[in-house]
Amino acid sequence: MIPAFVTIIAASLLLALFSKRGHAHQGAKEFFTASGQFGAVLFFFLSVGETYSVTSMLGFPGGVYAKGGDFITWFFGYILLAAPVLYCVGPVIWRAGVLYGAATIPDFFRSHFDSRALELVMAGSAILLLVPVGTTQFMGLKIVLASLDLPVAPVVLLALAGGMAFLYVVIAGLRASAFVAILKDVLMLSAILLVSGVAIAHWHIDGGQAGGGQVGGAAALAASAPAGSDHKGLVFALSTMVLQAAGFAMIPQTWAFLFSARDPGAIRRAQVVSPLYLLLFPLLMCVAYFARFHGLQPPQPDFVFITTAQALLPEWMVGVVLATITLSGLVLLSSVCLAISPLVTRNIVSGLNEAGQRRWAKVVTALYILLSIIGTEVSGKFIVTLNNIFYFGIAQSLPAFFAALFLPRVGARAVILGMGAGYATAFWVYLAAIDVGGLNAGLVGLVLNSAVMLTAAALHPRREAATLLTRLRAAPSLPSHG
């Protein structure tokens, strides 16, 4: 098990080194966004690397195992709808990035609204929200690394994993993430097909014995599954789908990926294929149901995929599966590090030159990884809960983006007031467990956010302003990122 695991992790490091070939001298934009040189294929792998991380490989089957029906609906639904959202919005963001010379979300908002204060608000809130993402990945990695049964303290293994993510970032920035993502996706596809395939094959053999007859046993499981399609559950599922799919377009690393695309056509082509990747979800679901049906007892729900792999596969193959899940966490970690670093080095601290941005990006990356490991050690929360907090926070910049697109009279002050109201409401509703008829807390915050922003804009409209679309029309033909 260990040799297979180490071989794959070492191969990923070699791939990261290979990605640097021909790009030895990287500027800040090359480092953070690969200077807009990725075609549809590399862009696709990079963006699915973000979507299908530890949360998908461990959190999704874990959630299915523990919660059932409604969980599947919203988790699958929001990732599916994110593809058409990015298909429509992606080219706009790409062009806005070129127009303003932006490498981050706050770059765009600062330039469009001509406000340093808004840049700081956007950067600060994005940084705070990205911390749980690192924690989420390390929580998943902790589960995986514990399964290796090494006589080493878990925190040391986490530090080693953090060191790997740091190396990817230092070696070649976003380019390394994209290349490692290819290896990760090939392995992930194989691992899910293998575990689910073997599970389904064993289903027919063992199910009849353990379940008192295949049909009867399966029907009993379906009836006992905690699906709970009650009214509130349905409202939550639908509202979460909408919020998180729309919020997907406002994730800082999504913007970095969009800016890495060679042209808007590459973004579109990748989104056409992207939904097909979701066909892995029924397979992950089968693994979770297999574990329930056959009485496998994972120590925690999030262990279910690994527990099933351990029950069905030879040891060396389990090593491959564990390395694959580790890679899926590391790829996302490295891309989050590359999203959070420019937020600090370009937006919070302004005026750093290219070399300074790259140098400080490495310091920020190391600090972020350290903070995420500490978060993992002190937080025992369920992975998917952290995922929710991230999305209902990150979606609060949506009204500002729509204002930039369509509402010329909305100024920076109105946007900041709206975001403040949105954040406060969303977190209050969530933390105080206020009953809003099952609606996602983030959506409630989003409604108040928009209302406050529009009211403030009506009272103090921005003068001499134009929408993003107007500015794009007025701009000469645009060059690509870089």
């Binding site: 029906g69 639904g77 706009v92 042209d263 056509g265 066909l279 297999f290 033909s477 645009l478 060059p479």
Partner: protein
């Protein structure tokens, strides 16, 4: 090579209302419809309700929808949308 500008002054790859309606509206309608309608809820395969299997069919359907959008509205030529002024 300078990119071609459309009549409204935007690039040919920028979303228009027709594209947004089709690319967003169809998958949303399909997904919401199947979630609310929950067809074949009483049928199970591998212990999983038929309605959930139907939900997963939205993935290839969305892909087809976006492919149709690309054919109807999108740019086909690789590299269009870039180019120096």
């Amino acid at each position: 090579m300078a990119e071609k500008r459309t009549e409204d002054g935007l690039g040919s790859d920028m979303p228009r209302s027709g594209l947004a309606l089709l690319a967003l509206g169809l998958p949303v309608t399909l997904l919401f419809g199947l979630t609310l309608w929950a067809p074949f809820a009483s049928v199970t395969f591998l212990g999983i309700r038929g309605s959930i299997w139907c939900l997963f069919a939205c993935a290839p359907a969305t892909s087809l929808c976006l492919l149709a959008c690309n054919r109807l509205f999108g740019t086909q030529g690789k590299g269009r949308g870039k180019g120096t002024p």
